[in-house]
Every structure is written in structure tokens, then in C-alpha cells.
């Protein structure tokens, strides 16, 4: 059914009413009676031994309630922050994970690492006291450069060469064989620049301890409250799971950075019991820069082997990935299972081998940021393919077409462990070429040249793996948690419905999309469906939102639970209609039997389920509420083509994006308006990486880009209107046919932009971000 509010309709969002009237409830908007405030004292050094901490003066400062150091947590049995994915090196050994205390005890390892927490009556008093905490540091030489980290000083006692793991995937002999047979080899040195996520809402936490029951409540800016609860209970030992209630209320964007379990909320929730008062903390923006997990930061050498007629024969990739100072919650999985596995792209490259060394440096931890591994993989593949086309003098669209996996090849097993279920890459490419008016590009380029400007066009035919992943596959590869999703569809007595999901919405519009799915399936008004998320006491254990999983895994759980509701309702209806379950049909909210005018509405059946007069009480329990835990059968594989066209002013190096086309295949789309919005936002972040954003540390490990004055994100006048369209090949293995859309923009856009700029400048390599200065230097050779 496609109605005005059903699957496929651009329904306006339910959540907007509170956001546009200023009545949303973000963590920092909440307050508890008697709350006090927390400020963290952070290391000014990138690497130092903590010789002593003197809190005497700070403790006597006005309004101070308590000051805690790492020793206080440790002696109270608070454990380290764990990494949830165990990656093995190619020799079979486990990755090396350094101890990661929430508050440092013996060493600080990056600028911003916490070594004390101050709790006071007011935020001002806490800040004043924090200034008075005296630490005696022995400053050590920091390790900052990722490319040379393995030969630098050893940061962590148990991690020789600062190497977390040395991982590989694919058949190296087959890849070497491909290169031996190659007629042409294209190679590139690629730096995937470090990014700082910068959700506009800073991270925050508000904790409370109820002494009578011994239970804790934590409000925090989390993309996955159940995981937060699990880790704080099972690994960090704050409290037993049953005594820990985590609520993630309205959250102002995440982009990955709010997946992780951080030091701050850990310390806050622990300390609430110590001081017997609710404690609030909100990051200042400088803390977001210093201590939110950063993204990307790879150094890569990549080579593509081609035959004489442009067939891809093999791909070899060697990457060094920066983990930062400690392993963040999912850091280890990003440059491995979310990166190496995607290096086949949309192509039939028969032999691929990738090696990834992950290293520690004295910088903020690095973890998943929008796309997480897949943008890095796309960047490698699509920069290589475009460069190969230029070197061979063939049309980059034609070279791609020639090597695409064809619709008849599905399911297609890549040489890097994935099996793509479905897709039509040429369809997206052709649509994008037509929207970008590719056939007239040469004419436009001549016009630009006549005006003294350089024009370039660039492609990116990306693929991503979303909806991570069959739990057993993930567990066998080192994941510490299953990756199913939970749902409960609770029908009310009057036939309205409350849906509980273990996913979390921080901008994605789940309250709307999920309501569309349920109202469509049940044939009830969209307004009668309410979606609840973000509260561990309301939803069953679920895994939260990241990796474009919410609709494909969470939505599938909701669809499955809804089907169970329908199945039970049919039994009830059969009884009420004096018929059999098999005879009852359900369509558009109406139960019918053949050759009869008698029918029942969904509401009538729901009523009977709770007021079971006319009800098969001997065979069925009363009530109408069903649960589902949906474990995906495979990843989903959204894919598409992005085409970027730029014009460069050679005098200043200023680059303008004159056109950006994105044609994506997300499978079945529930709400096109929301999907388009996700694409716009993703593309903008991808453009940000290509042209503006760069997290930079100097040789002393000081963060040079620690504020909005130094770290440049796209503003409204940095980006154009995007031309966005979709092609559809429904996912073959989930009930909605959906593939996920949250990350595609950020995955595809960066390579398209850089391919366009290098095309305009006629250079092979150009470092990101391609700021005006970088572009100008490339033009002038300065």
C-alpha cells in the first residue's frame, strides 16, 4: 500500500513539532533536583608521566564537593574502557590493547586525556577549582606521525612498536600473480585526512544514584543506550545491569562519535553514588575537539593492475591506520572489517590483497565517523580507477562500465569476504551521467577555459556494506556483541500502537519512518503509531544506531513483530467471524472472509484481544503485543554514482562546486524526503573532508585545530544545491527490501570531489583537504 503516509510517501516528520518550537529535550536541557556540576581536568601534554597530583588547594576552593583522580576509580574497582572488537593479526595473534582507564592514573597519552574530575555546586565553582588542581608531569616525547609510529618511542608498556595489529585480507599470491600479468599498473599514495566529527550538540551526561534502591540513572548523548549500559555494567563495573538505567533522550547528531562509551559519562555515573547528588556534565566545544573520537586518518599505498584492454586484474593495498592513544569502543573494526572488505567496490577485480597495520599515537582516539572504513575504501578504489582511466586515456565512465559486476552476476562473492546480494551499478551510472549532462562536459570545460578558469569532473561509484551484520559472522570475526535488533509492537486497547525499538534516532527521523512501516502494514492511521526509543527500561536490548542499520535491521525487526501481530489478530478475527485462520484475509486494516460481506476492522480485533468476550480464550492468550529480534542474514549493499563538477580560479586556487549529482540505490525507500535529507547531509560531510576539514596535531602533539576558528566545516555558502535521485534494486534478504542510506553521501562524495579537482588541475595526486591554498600551490608549483 502506498498511501499519503505509507511506505514510499514523503511524510512530514512527527519529531519536528518539538524541535521547531524549542521543546525538544536534549541531555543538557534536563536537570535534576539538587544537581551539582562536573568539570574534567585534562592533560595539556601529549605524553607524560603523572608523578603526583595535588588537589589540596582545589579542595578548599569555594563550592567544591569532591575531587577524584584515577586512583579513586581504580581502588573502587572501576575497570578500563574496553574495545568491543578483537581483531587478529595475520600471524594469528590477538591485537594488543593498552589499558584505557577513564581517568588516567600513571600516564597521560594525549592532549585532553583526563587526570582528575572536580565536582562543585556550580559550574563556575567547578571550573575555578579545576584550575587549582596541580599535577607534576614528567613530559615525554610524543608519537604523533602515523606513518613512522612503529619505529618511534613505545607509548604503552604492552604494545611493542606501537602496533595494535598487522592484519590482512585476501589472497596475496593471487594478487601478486595479477600484477605479474599486468599490462598497466596504476599506483597512488593516499592520505585519508583526520576528521573531527563535531555533532553540533556537544556530548553530555546527567547521572543520578538512588541510595534506597541502589540503582543508577544515566541520561547521556548516546547513539546506543543499551550498549552503554552493558559496557558500564559488565566491563567497567559501575553497577549490575539491572541497577543501571540509561536514557538517551533527544540527541543532536552523532555521526558515529556518540556510539562510544567515553570516560566522561563513566566517571559521572560512578561519582553520583560517591557524592550522593545528581551530577551534570556538558562538553565545551574544545572538549569535543580534544576528546570526541576522531575519524579516518589512514596512510595508504595502493596499486591497481590492468590488462591491455582495461580489465581490472588485481588490487594491492597497504594501509597504516591511526588508532590514537587508546582503543576506542569499535576502533579496531573500522580499518579492517569495514574497510578491507569493501575494496572490491562495484568491480569484478578477481584478486585483491590488503594489509592494515594499526598503530597508536599520542593523539585522541580514532574510531567510526560517518561511513567508518567504507569512505576510506571508496576513496582508495575510486581515486585509483579514475587515475587509471586518465593514464590509459579512456573515458572514466567507460572504464568503470567495463569492470562493473553485472546484474546477472548476483549473488556475487568478492575476493574480500563479502557476498553482494543485488545491485545494478550501470543503472545508477547512466542516470547520473544524464543528470550531470556528461555529454556536454567538454563544451562547458571550453567555456570555462575561455574565461580563464579550470573545470574538472570526477566520478565516484561507491559501494558500502550496511546493516552490520549476521551476529554469528560478526562474532566469529571478533565482535564482542551480537548485531541483531529488537522490536516490540504493542497494540493498545483502542487499536493505536506503540512501537519500541532498540535503535536510536539522533536526526534520522525514526519516529516517522518506523510509524510509516507499521501504519502501512496494519492499515491504521499514521497518527495512531508512536515510536519509543532511547530508554533501556522501555525497549528490549538492542544495538542502537550506526552503520546505516536502523531501518534495515531495526525496521526489519519492527516489520517482523508487526507480522506476528497480524498473525495473532487473524486468529482472533477468524473466531469472531466464525471462520478459520486460513480463510481470513487482512488488507488495508480490514479482516475479511471470502464470499461474505462481514468484515472487522483492526481496531475491533484489537479491542476483542483486550476485552476478550468474543475471543478464543481456550486457544489464545488475551492481549495483542508482539516482539521480534531480527538478525540480518547478510549485510546490505547500497551503491551508487556521485558525479562532481568543479571550477577552479587559477589566480586564487578557489574551487567552486558547480554541480553535484548523486544517484543512489538504497533498495526500497520508505520516506523519500528523509532519505534525500540524509544524502544531502552526507554529501556535505564528504565535501567537508575533501575541501575544508582537517584535524591537525603539531609535532608536540598539540591539537592545532581545536575550535571552530581553526577547524573548518562546511557552512551554507560552501556547498551548492545537490541533484539527488535513486535507482531501486530491493535488498533480497530483509522483509523491507531496504538497504540503508545514512552514510552513502559521506562515502561517495569525497572521491568524486577529489577526482574533479585533480581533473581540473590535471594532477595525479592532491592532498585533502583541497583548500584554496593547496590548490593554488598545486597550480603554481609553489
Amino acid at each position: 500500500m502506498t498511501t499519503k503516509t505509507g511506505i514510499g510517501a514523503s511524510v512530514l516528520r512527527k519529531e519536528d513539532a518539538r524541535f521547531i518550537t524549542g521543546t525538544g529535550a536534549y541531555t543538557d536541557d534536563l536537570s535534576l533536583p539538587g544537581q551539582v556540576y562536573c568539570v574534567f581536568v585534562r592533560s595539556p601534554h601529549a605524553r607524560a608521566i603523572i608523578k603526583s597530583i595535588d588537589t589540596t588547594d582545589a579542595e578548599s576552593s569555594g563550592g567544591v564537593i569532591a575531587i577524584f583522580t584515577g586512583e579513586d576509580l581504580r581502588s573502587d574497582g572501576i575497570g578500563d574502557l574496553p574495545c568491543g572488537w578483537l581483531v587478529k593479526s595475520k600471524d594469528g595473534s590477538d591485537m594488543l590493547a593498552p589499558s584505557h582507564p577513564a581517568i588516567a592514573t600513571t600516564h597521560v597519552n594525549y592532549v585532553g586525556d583526563i587526570y582528575a574530575m572536580v565536582i562543585a555546586e556550580t559550574i563556575e565553582e567547578a571550573k575555578n577549582a579545576a584550575e587549582l588542581v596541580e599535577a607534576d608531569f614528567e613530559v615525554l616525547t610524543p608519537v604523533v606521525d602515523v606513518a613512522t609510529a612503529t619505529t618511534a618511542d613505545q607509548i604503552h608498556e604492552n604494545v611493542p612498536n606501537n602496533q595494535c595489529y598487522d592484519w590482512e585480507l585476501g589472497d596475496s599470491a593471487a594478487a601478486d600473480g595479477a600484477f605479474a600479468n599486468a599490462v598497466h599498473v596504476t599506483s597512488l599514495d593516499i592520505v585519508n585526512n583526520r576528521l573531527i566529527p563535531n555533532a553540533i550538540e556537544p556530548r553530555a551526561a546527567l547521572g543520578n544514584h538512588d541510595a534506597a534502591s541502589g540503582s543508577y540513572t544515566l541520561y547521556t548523548t548516546s547513539q546506543n543506550p543499551h550498549l552503554e549500559r552493558l559496557i558500564l555494567a559488565a566491563f567497567v563495573n559501575v553497577a549490575p545491569e539491572a541497577k543501571l538505567h540509561v536514557i538517551s533522550p533527544d540527541v543532536g547528531g552523532g555521526f558515529g562519535s556518540k556510539i562510544f562509551v567515553y570516560a566522561e559519562e563513566t566517571a559521572v555515573i560512578w561519582a553520583t553514588a560517591k557524592v550522593g547528588r545528581p551530577i551534570k556534565w556538558r562538553a565545551e566545544r574544545i572538549e569535543s575537539f580534544q576528546a570526541d573520537a576522531h575519524g579516518r586518518d589512514h596512510v595508504t599505498r595502493a596499486e591497481l593492475a590492468l590488462s591491455g584492454d582495461g580489465e581490472f586484474l588485481g588490487l594491492r593495498v597497504k594501509t597504516i591506520a591511526n588508532m590514537g592513544a587508546y582503543l576506542s569502543t569499535f576502533a579496531s573494526s573500522v580499518p579492517t572489517y569495514l574497510y578491507g572488505t569493501l575494496l572490491s567496490g562495484q568491480y569484478k577485480t578477481p584478486a585483491i590483497h590488503v594489509e592494515v597495520k594499526s598503530v597508536f599515537t599520542n593523539t585522541a582516539p580514532v574510531d567510526a565517523y560517518r561511513g567508518a572504513g567504507r569512505p576510506e575504501a571508496t576513496y582508495v578504489v575510486e581515486r585509483l580507477v579514475e587515475t587509471a582511466a586518465r593514464e590509459l586515456g579512456v573515458d572514466p565512465a567507460e572504464l568503470r562500465r567495463k569492470n562493473f559486476i553485472q546484474p546477472s552476476d548476483f549473488p556475487y562473492a568478492t575476493p574480500v569476504a563479502l557476498t553482494y546480494d543485488t545491485g545494478d551499478y550501470e543503472a545508477s551510472l547512466e542516470r547520473a551521467l544524464s543528470l550531470a549532462k556528461y555529454s556536454e562536459f567538454a563544451k562547458r570545460r571550453n567555456e570555462s577555459e575561455a574565461n580563464g578558469r579550470k573545470r574538472g569532473i570526477g566520478f565516484s561509484c561507491y559501494i558500502e556494506a550496511c546493516g552490520l551484520a549476521p551476529s554469528q559472522v560478526a562474532l566469529s570475526l571478533g565482535a564482542g556483541v551480537g548485531l541483531f535488533e529488537s522490536a516490540e509492537v504493542r497494540v493498545d486497547v483502542t487499536g493505536s500502537v506503540t512501537v519500541m525499538t532498540g535503535t536510536h534516532s539522533h536526526g534520522q527521523g525514526h519516529e516517522t519512518t518506523f510509524a510509516q512501516v507499521v501504519s502501512d502494514k496494519l492499515g491504521i492511521p499514521f497518527e495512531n503509531v508512536t515510536v519509543v526509543h532511547g530508554d533501556t527500561s522501555k525497549s528490549d536490548y538492542g544495538l542502537g544506531t550506526y552503520g546505516s542499520r536502523s531501518l534495515v535491521v531495526g525496521g526489519s525487526a519492527i516489520a517482523t513483530a508487526t507480522d506476528k501481530v497480524i498473525a495473532k489478530a487473524k486468529k482472533i478475527a477468524a473466531h469472531m467471524l466464525n471462520s478459520t485462520e486460513e480463510q481470513v484475509s487482512f488488507d488495508d486494516g480490514i479482516f475479511k472472509i471470502p464470499d461474505s460481506n462481514e468484515s472487522l476492522s483492526f481496531g475491533e480485533v484489537a479491542f476483542s484481544a483486550y476485552v476478550p468476550g468474543d475471543f478464543p480464550i481456550e486457544e489464545l492468550e488475551p492481549g495483542l503485543s508482539e516482539k521480534a529480534f531480527y538478525d540480518p542474514a547478510n549485510f546490505t549493499y547500497p551503491a551508487g554514482t556521485h558525479i562532481c563538477e568543479v571550477e577552479v580560479d587559477p589566480g586564487t586556487g578557489t574551487t567552486e562546486i558547480v554541480s553535484f549529482v548523486a544517484v543512489d540505490d538504497f533498495g526500497t525507500v520508505i520516506n523519500p524526503m528523509i532519505v534525500e535529507g540524509q544524502v544531502h547531509g552526507g554529501i556535505t560531510q564528504g565535501i567537508g573532508q575533501a575541501m575544508l576539514e582537517h584535524g591537525v596535531y603539531d609535532a608536540d602533539g598539540q591539537l592545532l585545530t581545536g575550535s571552530y576558528m581553526d577547524y573548518t566545516m562546511p557552512r551554507a555558502d560552501d556547498v551548492p544545491d545537490f541533484i539527488v535521485d535513486t535507482t531501486v534494486t530491493p535488498c533480497t534478504h530483509n522483509p523491507l527490501g531496504a538497504k540503508g542510506c545514512g552514510e552513502a553521501g559521506a562515502i561517495g562524495a569525497t572521491a568524486a570531489v577529489m577526482n574533479a579537482i585533480t581533473n581540473a588541475l590535471d594532477v595525479k595526486e592532491l592532498a585533502m583537504p583541497a583548500t584554496a591554498e593547496t590548490v593554488w600551490r598545486a597550480i603554481t608549483g609553489d
Binding site: 512530514l12 516528520r13 519529531e15 519536528d16 513539532a17 518539538r18 524541535f19 521547531i20 518550537t21 524549542g22 521543546t23 525538544g24 529535550a25 536534549y26 543538557d28 536541557d29 536537570s31 563556575e124 563535531n198 555533532a199 553540533i200 550538540e201 556537544p202 533527544d250 540527541v251 543532536g252 547528531g253 555521526f255 556538558r282 565545551e284 566545544r285 574544545i286 539522533h506 536526526g507 534520522q508 527521523g509 524526503m673 528523509i674 534525500e676 535529507g677 540524509q678 544531502h680 547531509g681 552526507g682 554529501i683 556535505t684 560531510q685 575550535s707 571552530y708 576558528m709 566545516m713 562546511p714 557552512r715 551554507a716 555558502d717 556547498v719 544545491d721 545537490f722 553521501g745
Partner: protein, 157 residues
């Protein structure tokens, strides 16, 4: 401490706050008007934008004392879900928000931009006018669309 008398969303308030209290803190903490958001400490994100004496200001950059005797409108003072201000409605109708965190500041900025314009604003002028407001979610395209739509409506009345 400094004594302050202000009108916020039509309601008068007299209160005494520490001298260094920011207008944003007064609104959020003293008056519990939490629709005005704090996204940075360097006056660059615009999430905290409110109207002070008819001008859009970043309330994190104004001392509460500077607003003494002033009249302030915050996002909470614009419209209600059943009676939205045209800019609020345009944001909803054009999907100009995702997480909603930047939205109050965006709406306050947009209102002033439209009010100040003598001629209808072009999309480029709107983009330039949004320079002081960061949004990390939407890519701005739908915000521009919303401002264009709201301006059409507001100029016709």
C-alpha cells in the same frame, strides 16, 4: 551580582545574577528556556541565536547585564505546534531539520534575515545570511528552501 529586568517572550522578569552571567545561561538556567542551545564557546555555531530588541544576537556572546531592560524573543516565543510561526512551519514542511539542535538558532536567524530584506532574497543571499549558523546534519539545501518558502509567505502578508 547584578539586578536585571527583562521581558522574555512577553513575560517580565526581575532577577539577580552574577555579573559574568551570559544571556544564554540566564535563558537556559534561570528561566529554563532550553530551546536556546549551546553548541560552542567561540561564538561560531549560532545555535544560541535569539532576538534581542529586534536584532538577532548570539546569546552566548551577550552578557545578561547587557540585555537589562531589553525585550527578548526565543524559539519558545514564536509559535505553538498548532499555531506555528511561518518560518517554523516552513522548516517542518521542507525537512529543514534533522537532529533539530541547530534549528532554533537557524529559525531566529532566518526570521531576522527575512525581516531585514528590502527585496526578496535569492538563494545565494540566504546562504550568505546563514554564514553564522552551523548545521552538521542537513547540508543546508532544505534550510535554504525553507527560508525561500517562508519569505514568500511573509512578504505576501
Amino acid at each position: 551580582m547584578v539586578d536585571i529586568t527583562i521581558t522574555v517572550n512577553g513575560t517580565g522578569h526581575s532577577l539577580s545574577v552574577p555579573d559574568n552571567t551570559l544571556l544564554s545561561d540566564l535563558l537556559r538556567e534561570n528561566l529554563r528556556l532550553t530551546g536556546t542551545h549551546i553548541g560552542c564557546d567561540t561564538s561560531q555555531c549560532g545555535s544560541c541565536t535569539v532576538e534581542l530588541n529586534g536584532r538577532a544576537v548570539k546569546s552566548c556572546t551577550v552578557l545578561a547585564a547587557q540585555a537589562n531592560n531589553g525585550s527578548i524573543t526565543t524559539i519558545e516565543g514564536l509559535g505553538t505546534p498548532n499555531d506555528l510561526h511561518p518560518v517554523q512551519a516552513a522548516f517542518r514542511d521542507n525537512h529543514a531539520l534533522q537532529c533539530g539542535f541547530c534549528t532554533p538558532g537557524m529559525i531566529m536567524t532566518a526570521i531576522e534575515m527575512i525581516k531585514d530584506a528590502t527585496e526578496p532574497l535569492s538563494a545565494d543571499q540566504i546562504r550568505a545570511g546563514l554564514e553564522g549558523n552551523y548545521c552538521r546534519c542537513t547540508g543546508y539545501q532544505n534550510i535554504v528552501k525553507a527560508v525561500l518558502a517562508a519569505q514568500t509567505q511573509l512578504r505576501s502578508v
